[in-house]
């Protein structure tokens, strides 16, 4: 057998599996999206139908807020963890990255334990203020859940980027008389730019499509994945559900592709 034939044979099982269980289904999803009573107009309903549009805005705002807060939190913690050495540091890093492997549903449950009816926050506020604060099933609870799964991801990317920073640039800035704030503002943060774009895009795309966490917490909140789910299972509105999920998939993919064109290879490494 010649090498060329062998290489083709090596690719064959993967090609068949990916065609059968990914490419063809995605094509079918796109076709179904345009096959309802409204035809291709179903793809526009996300913008024209007020209820869907409100859900889309809700989801985008939530995902953007998650991204910004995760970036700020992860930059402070990531810079600190990568720049300083102290006993217990590696344990702290392990703690911050441990939730990476939690499924969305488990993240939802973590928020229930923090902010649910028997949650820690409710317990503490009852003791201190005599009033029980319960918000697991509100948009604030969902936001906390989204932070829970995106902070570890962003911290990892930021730490990797801080490690690669060129220390001589900071030394030069300091030698030229820049104070610590000026060094951060003019040297460190701009140098972390690509990492911000890359990890921000991952956080945004993940938050847009998060289903498990929303499934546990967003019983009364409209976010896009829950809308798709209820349209599909409860309303049997299959064409609309397909069109909405094609839209969601396109947005997530486009955000990541855009970030990759900005940030070079860093997204691929983190993705």
């Amino acid at each position: 057998m010649r090498l060329k034939t062998f290489v083709w044979l090596c690719l064959l099982p993967l090609t068949l599996v990916v065609l059968a269980f990914f490419v063809l289904p995605m094509v079918r999803l796109m076709l179904v999206g345009g096959s309802g009573p409204q035809g291709l107009a179903a793809y526009a309903t996300i913008l024209t139908e007020p209820r869907y549009r409100a859900t889309l805005i809700n989801t985008v705002v939530l995902a953007a807020a998650t991204t910004i807060v995760s970036l700020v939190v992860a930059t402070i913690a990531g810079l600190f963890l990568q720049r300083t050495r102290f006993p217990g540091r590696s344990v702290l890093v392990a703690m911050l990255t441990f939730p990476l492997a939690f499924p969305g549903v488990v993240v939802g449950f973590m928020i229930i334990l923090l902010a649910g009816r028997q949650g820690l926050i409710g317990d503490l506020t009852l003791r201190v203020f005599g009033d029980k604060l319960v918000f697991a099933y509100t948009i604030q609870g969902l936001f906390l859940g989204y932070l829970y799964f995106s902070i570890p991801r962003v911290i990892l990317t930021i730490m990797a980027a801080v490690e690669k920073l060129d220390p001589s640039l900071e030394e030069a800035a300091r030698a030229l008389g820049a104070g610590p704030w000026a060094v951060h503002r003019d040297v460190i943060l701009p140098a972390l730019g690509p990492a911000f774009v890359a990890s921000g895009a991952i956080a945004f795309a993940t938050a847009m499509g998060a289903f498990g966490t929303a499934f546990t917490l967003a019983t009364n909140i409209d976010v896009l994945p829950m809308l798709i789910y209820t349209e599909f299972t409860l309303s049997a509105n299959i064409a609309i559900a397909a069109a909405l999920s094609v839209g969601l998939g396109l947005v997530a993919w486009a955000v990541l592709a855009l970030a990759r064109s900005f940030g070079g290879g860093s997204v691929a490494a983190a993705g």
């Binding site: 062998f6 083709w8 090596c10 990914f22 499924p103 973590m110 928020i111 334990l113 994945p225 993919w253």
Partner: protein, 266 residues
């Protein structure tokens, strides 16, 4: 300097708070799973009754999750390693296009992929009802991790030279693949395998859409218990899940630090 020390303390406190936000609820859930009455606190005593109850109610989901994770691993090994080799050897625009397509499931939300699979295979009711349907979803979702992890090793170890020297000794492509390529790719295969098993055990977004009442997996059961069981049972079930994935996570971390040590030696 006083100011430096204040800044250090502030940053440390902030980082500790973030870590607490992530770890405290996980610790609470482990505790609640073995507490007789969580509402009354640990003074109500420790018990294994909730774990026993989880076992009675959900043992089948635990077994099925292991079955699906194992099968996903076998399939991704079988199709992922040869494909990674082919993509590396062939290179060029087509290889990059294929790599791009197989990594799309990382960007597209699981819900969309699950809907696509449901719409395509609804007519095949035997397949649709069996655990193999979930397996198909898990394979699509985990395959990129296996392929990329093995490809990363191939670019690190200079496969082409190895392959050519084996070829000059007269070995056939298949012999070379099995006796030279695969053994040399072992670290990438191991890293990819840990990733695939961990992701499959925890997969929810696809599985929730693809499962039937007879093919529930552990994360599906978890969602079920969060919605309908008392907090102690849900916590005990989560504890079982943690016990399953924590060894995998530790193995992954150890493996990553070996990799770094190996890289440093080079």
């Amino acid at each position: 300097m006083m100011r430096d020390r204040l800044i250090f303390a502030g940053q440390l406190l902030f980082t500790l708070l973030v870590a607490a936000f992530l770890i405290v609820p996980a610790a609470l859930s482990m505790l609640a799973g073995v507490t007789a009455n969580y509402f009354r606190g640990i003074s109500s005593g420790f018990t294994l009754q909730w774990i026993v109850q989880v076992w009675d109610l959900y043992a089948d989901t635990i077994g099925r999750s292991f079955l699906i994770a194992g099968a996903t691993l076998v399939v991704t090994l079988f199709i992922g390693i040869p494909a990674a080799y082919a993509l590396h050897v062939r290179g060029g625009r087509m290889a990059r296009a294929i790599e791009e397509i197989i990594t799309l499931p990382l960007a597209i939300p699981g819900l969309a992929i699950a809907l696509a699979l449901l719409l395509t295979y609804n007519g095949f009711s035997d397949f649709r009802r069996s655990w193999l349907f979930i397996l198909a979803g898990h394979v699509v979702f985990t395959l990129p991790f296996m392929v990329r992890s093995v490809m990363a090793i191939f670019s690190a170890i200079d496969v082409k030279t190895l392959d050519e020297s084996a070829s000059s000794l007269g070995a056939s492509p298949l012999r070379r693949f099995l006796d030279v390529i695969v053994p040399n790719a072992r670290p990438g295969i191991l890293a990819g395998s840990l990733m695939v098993v961990t992701l499959s055990l925890g997969e929810f977004n696809l599985t929730w859409m693809l499962h039937t009442p007879l093919t529930k997996t552990l994360p599906v059961g978890l969602a079920d218990s969060y919605a309908s069981m008392r907090l102690e049972v849900a916590s005990a079930y989560t504890l079982v899940f943690f016990v399953m994935i924590i060894p995998l996570l530790i193995a992954m971390q150890m493996f990553a630090s070996w990799g770094e040590a190996g890289g440093a030696r080079k």
